[in-house]
């Protein structure tokens, strides 16, 4: 099976609220006096009308300034955000390596969270049982695995997160700046493993501000700004284009 991702005129917009929750009283009062809800927020497009085809074999790097819409695009592909217009079609199983501790329950032990996280990735307890040993070993968390993860340090969170994702044979791997987790030893070990994962996966999408890393891992790079794709192509030319932008912004 060949994986692919196809987005068609994809848009995602966010509202910035002046005052978050609306109470029932406010809602009724607003309605009665014709004061629109619209006065209370401003909207902007985090992803604006993006049509993008990603095929099996693509190692796609996404670069851009903060707030360019890179992470929103990743989260939309991962199914966390539903598009406001346009569509997205994905063939293949997605393994997200996005936020540390995503899909963890703080009250459960590390070991229990392996199963929870596996379940969220679509694996049965029996399948996770087979991977449990490897995950435990890779994470080097030892006895800590029997502790509720609310007692974990952020480094330990990162180790567990990464170790689970690393054992799941991804078809589509989505990475959002999670390389530097844990101590120097684990960073080295996880960088090695990421290379293997990139090798195994059909599609890899990486968001990073580390251009060196993008250059090493990717065979295609897009530059995003204000929710649109400015440039799409081979790493040399697009990264050159992005560098010019950075220099321009610094002036």
């Amino acid at each position: 099976m060949k994986s692919y991702i196809q987005t068609d005129q994809l848009s995602v917009k966010f509202r910035i609220y002046k005052n978050r929750g609306l109470s029932l009283k406010e809602f009724i009062v607003n309605r009665m006096f014709g004061q629109g809800e619209r006065d209370r927020y401003t909207e902007f497009f985090a992803v604006n009308n993006i049509t993008l085809r990603i095929d099996s074999g693509d190692r796609l790097g996404i670069v851009g300034f903060n707030g360019a819409g890179k992470s929103t695009l990743l989260k939309t592909i991962a199914g966390i955000y539903f598009p406001h217009s346009g569509s997205i079609r994905i063939n293949g199983r997605i393994t997200p390596l996005m936020e540390l501790g995503a899909g963890f329950d703080a009250e459960q032990t590390g070991r229990e969270n392996i199963f929870l996280n596996g379940a969220l990735l679509g694996f049965s307890p029996a399948e996770m049982k087979k991977k449990e040993q490897a995950i435990a070993e890779f994470s080097e968390l030892g006895e800590f695995l029997n502790l509720p993860i609310k007692y974990y340090s952020s480094g330990m969170y990162g180790r567990l997160s990464f170790s689970i994702a690393a054992m799941t044979n991804p078809e589509i791997l989505i990475i959002d700046e999670v390389f530097s987790t844990g101590d120097a030893h684990f960073v080295e070990k996880s960088s090695q493993r990421i290379l293997q994962l990139v090798e195994q996966s059909q599609i890899v999408i990486i968001v990073s501000h580390n251009l060196e890393q993008i250059r090493n891992l990717c065979n295609r790079v897009i530059v995003m700004d204000k929710g649109v794709i400015l440039k799409d192509g081979l790493p040399e030319e697009t990264l050159g284009f992005y560098n010019d932008q950075v220099i321009h912004a610094n002036q």
């Binding site: 966390i80 955000y81 598009p83 569509s87 229990e112 379940a119 969220l120 399948e127 044979n169």
Partner: protein, 281 residues
């Protein structure tokens, strides 16, 4: 799993009806069945973790409540204590399930924020997990308290075989309600507090600590009590456990109509907003 090929599609332009939503969600529920199982088990475990009596609280808690209520209200109504405690027990357990489902259900999506904003997960999982946990707790309490009920003189009959059906209908009714309140509460955060007050009041509008006949004398009260939808669900359990009779056709009928209505409204509200909710948490 790795050999399986699946295509996922998110299309903002495609608006389906309730049926297409349920079909899509049913498919997702099968895919995420292990996650539901995990949520239910960990919730049950967390409830009793670190307490000395552990699981026995699911027995002791309703037991003490029942004893207190029985002593107080059998004195007020001058009923026989033994008989009245079975009455209270058969109404109080389903009420606890109703009350906890709605109250925890109101917070179901809000407290799932850490999942909803970080991983893909079908939202319907959270209302389902809440109602399942409460239904299981009901069963656990029921089974353990039943020994006491027998001791007090409850009749054991084959009528009890209709209990699973009554539980299923009640759980589905609650699922619809929980879908409704969990979604609405994201948009109007005051709702949680309103629900809390309303249900404390409803407890006294439902014949649990007093017999139904008690309110039938007053024409106003009997109308008000009959308008309370929970009356009919509690009646199922009174009938099966307390009177050892199969509930009447009218009671079943009213419960089924109420369940269909709540599921319809719950689905309508839930599916209309499920894609928007992550932007509002």
């Amino acid at each position: 799993m790795a050999e399986e090929s699946f295509i996922t599609e998110y299309n903002a332009e495609e608006k389906g009806g309730i049926w297409s939503f349920w079909i899509r969600n049913a498919r997702e529920l099968i895919r995420f069945r292990h996650a539901i199982y995990n949520f239910v088990v960990s919730n049950l475990r967390a409830r009793y973790r670190r307490s000395t009596f552990g699981f026995f609280w699911s027995l002791l808690n309703p037991l003490f409540t029942m004893v207190i209520l029985s002593v107080v209200f059998s004195t007020i109504f001058k009923n026989s204590l033994a008989n009245f405690s079975i009455y209270i027990f058969s109404g109080l357990l389903p009420w606890t399930m109703i009350f906890n489902s709605i109250l925890n259900g109101a917070m179901a999506l809000i407290s799932a924020e850490r999942f909803l904003k970080k991983v893909y997960i079908p939202k319907i999982i959270f209302p389902i997990a809440i109602v399942s946990v409460e239904a299981i707790n009901f069963l656990l309490s029921l089974i353990s308290l039943f020994f006491l009920a027998i001791f007090l003189g409850a009749k054991i009959s084959w009528v009890l075989f209709t209990l699973p059906l009554a539980l299923l209908i009640t759980a589905l009714f609650l699922l619809g309600l929980v879908m409704f309140v969990s979604m609405l509460n994201v948009y109007f955060r005051d709702l949680f507090h309103i629900v809390q007050v309303v249900f404390t009041g409803l407890f006294y509008l439902t014949p649990i600590v007093y017999p139904l006949e008690f309110v039938l004398n007053s024409p106003l009260l009997s109308v008000v009590v009959r308008l309370n939808p929970f009356l009919y669900f509690i009646e199922l359990f009174h009938s099966i456990i307390y009177r050892a009779e199969i509930p009447g056709v009218t009671t079943w009928g009213i419960c089924i109509v109420l369940t269909l209505t709540s599921m319809f409204i719950g689905s309508l509200v839930f599916f209309a907003k499920e894609n928007d909710v992550v932007y509002r948490l």
